[in-house]
Amino acid sequence: MQSLKVSDLTLQLPDGTVLCDALSFEIAPGAVLALMGPSGSGKSSILSWITGTLDTRIRASGDVWLGDTTLTNLPVERRCLGLMLQQDYLFPHMSVSENLKFGLRGGTRRERSEKVRASLDSAGLSGMEHRHPTTLSGGQRARVSLLRTLLSNPHALLLDEPFSRLDVNLRSTIREFTWESASTLPTLLVTHDIDDVPAHAKTLSLYENQNEHPENVGPVRGHA
């Protein structure tokens, strides 16, 4: 596994507001960087820029690397980044297994079914292949959604407030499930809830004045 590296990222809104200026960080495999800040501080824009889906009206400069490869000019679909958003976006016209197979890359039909079953088993969702997403509970949906992302075999994980829509009593289990599943990947977590941030994570705060140079963070090392 390689580390995810962002160097000299500057984002500027059309009205001239600078969201971040020459931001650099590196996340090692298995490490978590939590990006915290109030709404409008640019957390999600940074994440969108990394995935390559940033609104074209925002001016951006900088580079993003996976190990020694730069992703900056690759189209979204070739960056191999896993993305989780506030909503789970399970596709309503597909069953659970179809949703998972949608994430899965390659393999024969049999192998694919096998992998899907195994991953459902591992998440405590055995036998749910043919259920429709709308019949699942919130926790089940969140897990299926994460499984779908992981089955696509991403090289890094980007999480944008993935727990904020979940019931309070569900959050801790899903958090645990997420950190366990992501234990080998560099992970960037965007949140404004301090409880979301796991103990081993480093934190990058965007709470301070945005025009000031934020403290550049050195390499974030994994806990293992």
Partner: protein, 551 residues
């Protein structure tokens, strides 16, 4: 009171549907020998035009519908999110408002061998001195008609699809799909289109029924010998002794439409199964590249074609002399507009009389209906409004005409206006239903706590807040009325010469410049209405804000 009004509207609306079907069934099976003697089906099957006209209608109707769907989906995939998309969203609504007949006339001026497209490149590129002989318009294969239908129906389907896109999270689906490694085209075909299709299915079926049974555009752009099935039936209905055959044909047409709908639903199931199977493979696909450009070129040319067709109407309407191969008139005149009161002014007034009736009564009754629905006094009857859109117009109108003859109300102004109301009401109700159902009920409560009664809340709160959709629905009502050809023709006994009637009946015979003027006028009425519908509510808004500022 609201329930009573709701009942009256539902009855007034559904009565003609029943009467229309009955009026087609009864003569067809020989139960009305005074009006329709003989065995209609036997007479119909005997006619040498029967088989070729049915085949022609199937060909033009199915191909036009398939192409409409294909181009719409291609446009979504290739143009969504681009600058072209913004152009489409700006230009398509006014083009949607242009009546089919007017668009057909413009297209004839454009694509004929002596039409504008050839003139633009002649003699410069083609080196021709005379128009080419390679094709004629209308052609015997029905391709001009297919083109005309596609040009008119793509905006309809595309706008229906665009309105639905907001309900299926296109951006997030694209984002999730692409980060999972799928190319944008795969994201559309596997994530967005399957969800979208279910939401535009009904619109597609309406288009299908329309395409196989259209009359006005088929008269103008379709082959004449044999004509399409619907036009053939129209030529039978008023011929001595052939009403039974015409009614039998109208029933066949309705049965055919239902069969085609079932067929489409079956094909749809097959494609869905196939798509689900393919989806499981997890192939990521490649970037669109050329296909994307092809799709953009197709829809952009379609847009250019419709805009140029409108330009043709304007140019011919101010031309005095305009011979091949001149790209512009050589002599200009305003005479076509100004000094032809019989040809332009009378049809205009006649058209407006129906249009204003429909604007007032269709909008009024739609609001009354939705109010009764909102109060829980009437159930939602959305399926009811779709019925006249899913039964071929020919089928219903032959029945209405038979009944009108029996009741001796044919040719009456009110009979025709009633039919216009029936055809406009579904659109108005369905447009306003969205606004009414999404309306935040807290506004009502807020007003009620301040002591306002029902009528005060309706007129001072709900209607002003919903002024924009109401104005748009009224404009649609006007557009529907202005475009009505068959109801005006069959129920009006030729006495109500609206622009649509003048345009279609005189197309073959009357001076092209006058035809262009009529068509331009027929297009301008709904366009003006749409501009007004967009402008008036916001004007009022800004006027209020200004007066505030002054105060």
């Amino acid at each position: 009171m609201t329930r009573l009004l709701g009942c009256v509207i539902a009855v007034l609306f559904s009565l003609p549907l029943l009467v229309g079907l009955a009026g087609s069934v009864v003569p067809a099976i020989g139960l009305l020998p005074e009006l329709a003697p003989g065995n209609g089906f036997a007479r119909l099957f005997d006619d040498p035009r029967f088989q070729p006209s049915v085949l022609l209608s199937l060909k033009t109707g199915l191909l036009a519908t398939a192409l409409t769907l294909l181009i719409t989906l291609l446009t979504l995939v290739c143009a969504h999110g681009t600058r072209l998309w913004r152009w489409l969203m700006a230009f398509l609504p006014p083009l949607l408002a242009v009546p089919h007949a007017a668009m057909a006339v413009g297209l004839v001026f454009l694509i004929s061998p002596s039409g504008w497209l050839v003139r633009l490149v002649t003699p410069g590129i083609t080196g021709l001195e005379r128009p080419p002989l390679a094709w004629v318009v209308p052609d015997s294969g029905g391709w001009s008609l297919i083109l005309g239908l596609v040009v008119k129906e793509v905006p309809f389907l595309l706008l229906a699809a665009a309105a639905q896109l907001s309900t299926i999270n296109v951006e997030s689906s694209l984002r999730i799909g692409r980060t999972l490694g799928y190319s944008p085209s795969r994201c559309w075909s596997r994530l967005i289109l399957p969800q979208l299709y279910a939401r535009i299915r009904l619109t597609l079926l309406i288009i299908l029924v329309f395409n196989v049974s259209v009359v006005d555009m088929a008269i103008l752009l379709g082959p004449g010998n044999p004509p399409t099935f619907a036009v053939f039936l129209l030529s039978l209905v008023n011929e001595p002794g052939l009403r039974a055959a015409a009614s039998a044909g109208a029933l066949l047409l309705a049965a055919g439409a239902i069969t085609l709908i079932v067929l489409v639903l079956i094909i749809e199931k097959l494609i869905a199964t196939l798509a689900a199977y393919r989806r499981e493979s997890g192939h990521r696909g490649k970037a669109l590249g050329t296909l994307r450009r092809v799709g953009q070129v197709v829809v952009a040319s379609l847009l250019m074609l419709s805009v140029s067709a409108m330009l043709m109407l304007l140019l011919w309407s101010v031309a005095r002399r305009w011979r091949f191969p001149n790209a512009l008139p050589t002599q200009w005149t305003a005479e076509n507009w100004l000094s032809r009161s019989d040809l332009v002014l009378n049809p205009l007034l006649c058209t407006l009389s129906f249009a204003l009736f429909v604007v007032v009564f269709a909008t009024g009754s739609a609001i009354a209906w939705l109010e009764s629905e909102r109060a829980g006094k009437m159930p939602r009857l959305d399926w009811l409004w779709y019925i006249p859109l899913l039964i071929p117009q020919v089928t219903l109108l032959f029945g209405w005409q038979a009944m009108a003859l029996l009741l001796r109300v044919d040719g009456q102004w009110l009979t025709v206006a009633y039919a216009h109301w029936v055809y406009a009401l579904p659109y108005v109700v369905l447009i306003l239903a969205v606004a009414w159902r999404e309306f935040d009920p807290n506004w009502n409560s807020a007003a009620a706590v301040l002591g306002a009664g029902y009528w005060k809340i309706l007129f001072r709160v709900r209607l002003p807040l919903l002024a924009k959709p109401v104005a748009q629905a009224a404009a649609v009502a006007l557009a529907v009325s202005v475009a009505q050809y068959l109801p005006t023709l069959l129920l009006g006994a030729g006495r109500h010469q609206t622009l649509a009637i003048e345009l279609v009946t005189s197309f073959g015979g009357v001076d092209r410049r006058v035809i262009a003027t009529l068509a331009a006028l027929q297009s301008l009425l709904p366009l003006i209405a749409f501009v007004a519908a967009l402008g008036i509510p916001s004007l009022r808004q800004s006027a209020k804000q200004e007066s505030h500022a002054v105060a």
